[in-house]
Symmetry: C2
Subunit: 145 residues, 2 copies
Amino acid sequence: MTRFTKFAVALAVVVSALPFVAKADDKDVIDYRQHIMKTLDEQVASIGMIVSTQIEGDNLVAHVQAIALTASTALKSFEPKVAGGDSKPEVWAQWDDFSKKMKEFSTRTAALVETAKTGGANAVNEAMVDALTCKGCHDIYRVKK
Amino acid sequence: MTRFTKFAVALAVVVSALPFVAKADDKDVIDYRQHIMKTLDEQVASIGMIVSTQIEGDNLVAHVQAIALTASTALKSFEPKVAGGDSKPEVWAQWDDFSKKMKEFSTRTAALVETAKTGGANAVNEAMVDALTCKGCHDIYRVKK
């Protein structure tokens, strides 16, 4: 073996002995952020049923808390620059604006938890248009359905 | 008008003047509990991607918190005795067992939050089989897919 071949073989042995480190491939990245967005859909729908009095309001605070928590996870899921799914390339081309909007969404839903605790369903009904800023992002950053 | 007719008319006027009070019809009840179950699906999938290292773990605690919160809302959504959707009639025929299992699910996912905070993804990976008791209910109470 030449010195280079010896080096290449040694390197291959070392690399193969490294613990398996999985990397998010593109499909994983898209799946993950879609799990988060679908959670938001389901929880917003739950709140909608309560504020419209279709469903009793016992779970109102928990639903708003779940939305606030999920909103806090959303930005991270878009950090890998992987277009596709329902995301337009503008998400990454205008990252400063996108991330600002996502942080506002997280801040406002956290405030909505306090509104739910103190004011109940009527207060949430009034405040949710300003707190759930979904459309402000979807209009710009989501593929039209 | 007879006295009875006068009474009936007066009653009708009073009733029609009552504020509209919406009641959950059967479809609403089923939709609502499905919003909760789908949230659990999406959040469990998110955790699965993290413990399998497909996705970085920054959001792990928030996902487990979202599951614990959503688990705490689930039992309430089954209280109206409305079969249908994916729920078997056994949910209500064996309510004591069903509600016991649901409360255990809520308690165990709340404990899993502490596990996530202190032990991270590896600890959640070990503990989640016992904490996410989904299958224990689905095998008995959910329509086979």
